[in-house]
Symmetry: C2
Subunit: 330 residues, 2 copies
């Protein structure tokens, strides 16, 4: 299997990405194609020992940054790592693509170059959401801020398939993120989506209250991209704010400083649970080929995990299953 | 000043509400009219010493529960405490109304009986949101799940006035809850609302990232009722889940049990910051008279604080200011 990796994306630059690729080759047994500025990538690769025939470089001279308008950047920067990488994917040089670069550019590039599966109305960006019980899988988390009920129905189907095949959840419980549990609750979009998802052949548990999401109320959480992004970002913000407030409280007195010291390892183990690094990346679902977005601040460990995720994505033939499901229901 | 209080609403029943009313009479110097089953209210009142001429009872025989369809219940239960109380308000028997009962019934009753201010398109339910710096004021938090940009513009205006007059914030910073800070980010509703709010005479700070809300990024947070409810409920859910997870971690070993014990008071003081009890209730903005929803699980202390809030609401003439502002901008 060949995984194509955007060597230039991400806040930490090629150093961590290349290290993640080397680790993936050794630990996961996949071949890697790194797309990026050849001299920089080669210099980084020269630091490590690995089977030389398992990593290949495709040269690209441009980089798309987070500040650029995604669709425009994709059209103008033909020699950017994300455009070159996605074209290599489309041409069959690799089986899947990972990038830690601009989410917008990856989305735009995915739609323009790799293209949507026939019958899929919108591609969704999905993410695991750490809960008390483990993880939930949430989509859309920001690719589609204005949705129709038909989109949410397809998100539910794609999310269920991905959760089962890649995350290994048998008969995943699919819930619709809402502000109440009763049928008939919510805004127009959610109410109409409820009826469509109810009529599908999924293990639909109905509306789930947003309040219960952190407890791990279901396996797949369906929402529009605006609400999904709000949920994800508020969770991050709350965690950061709560931890810093707790730290303030803990360091107020000598007694609590002692206590804080004693609890340090416990706090860390809890914080790790909320850590996206363990979970790799966010798959773009609905495209004709596997594309995964790794977190912008990914280190080598996260990149390796994102590569692991795209490997399973490919192995489990998720896209073929989505295609079949959509065609059956057309 | 006469404040009318729904004596029957809330999970804890008349016992705590009556106690809250007695405390309010003594501490805040307001007259109270309690609406509810006369014998029950009288029995509760007989437990306390207070100036007898400052508390009056209006008898009502019915109660609307949280399970009932709000609009239907308001029409059918003409002798419920919320309907009788709101009618007394409309008839000028009191200056403001507080209820800890069904939010939906209070909303429906407010719209049918008290009615909207001329020129106001939708009444909003608002709430303080505890942040690291203090509190923000957020609206709408659930009264309007499908909004138009014009509604959000009016929410911004009403929120700014309330924040200044009742919460005492001079020139409140008004932000639009969004998934990015740049102008042009967000869904269609938010993008169009941005332009309208920008053109108003408010201290508009633009889009605020939901991630930054817990830090206290602005004084007034404007959003549609679906998103507002998601933010509020997820915050509650996250706090509950994080605290229970931390507790689990803390009690894993003897060493950390010791630490947890030592930190108990700090944890409590932090938890109190997130406690809605301090903040009283959620005002319904856009109605012709002051109406405040107290939390369903309000105890006497919370009821007293909700009465304090409606007192300031009345004293500061918030409704007159909203009316003037809307008429100027019509």
């Amino acid at each position: 299997m060949n995984i194509i990796v955007d060597g230039m994306g991400g806040d930490k630059g090629p150093k961590d990405i290349v290290k993640g690729c080397v680790d993936a080759v050794k630990e996961l047994g996949v071949n890697i194609i790194i797309v990026g500025q050849e001299d920089i990538i080669e210099k980084e690769l020269s630091k490590y020992e690995f089977p030389k025939d398992m990593i290949e470089i495709i040269n690209s001279t441009e980089v798309i940054t987070n500040d650029e308008e995604p669709a425009l950047a994709i059209r103008r920067k033909k020699d950017s790592s994300v455009v070159v990488g996605l074209k290599a994917l489309r041409e069959g040089k690799g089986d899947g693509f990972v990038s830690a670069g601009s989410t917008g550019a990856l989305l735009a590039g995915g739609l323009f170059i790799v293209k949507r599966i026939k019958g899929i109305e919108r591609a969704a960006l999905a993410s695991v959401y750490p809960t008390k019980k483990g993880v939930s899988f949430m989509l859309d988390i920001g690719a589609n801020v204005d949705c129709k009920p038909e989109y949410l129905q397809q998100f539910a189907t794609m999310g269920s398939i991905y959760s089962e095949k890649v995350l290994g959840i048998s008969s995943p419980k699919v819930g619709l993120a809402n502000i109440g549990t009763e049928e008939g609750k919510g805004n127009t979009l959610v109410k109409e989506s409820y009826q469509l998802i109810k009529d599908s052949n999924l293990n639909f548990v109905g509306n789930v209250e947003v309040r219960d999401i952190p407890e791990g109320i279901c396996d797949v959480i369906v929402c529009d991209g605006f609400v999904g992004n709000v949920i994800l970002k508020l969770t991050e913000g709350m965690a950061i704010s709560l931890f810093s407030s707790l730290k303030d409280e803990f360091t107020k007195s000598f007694k609590s400083k002692m206590g804080a010291l004693m609890l340090k390892s416990q706090l860390k183990s809890f914080k790790d649970k909320l850590d996206y690094r363990e979970y790799g990346g966010a798959p773009l679902l609905g495209l004709k080929q596997p594309v995964v977005k790794a977190h912008g601040s990914s280190d080598a460990y996260t990149i390796k995990n994102a590569i692991r995720q795209v490997k399973t994505f490919v192995e489990m033939d998720v896209i073929k299953i989505i295609e079949n499901d959509i065609n059956v229901n057309e």
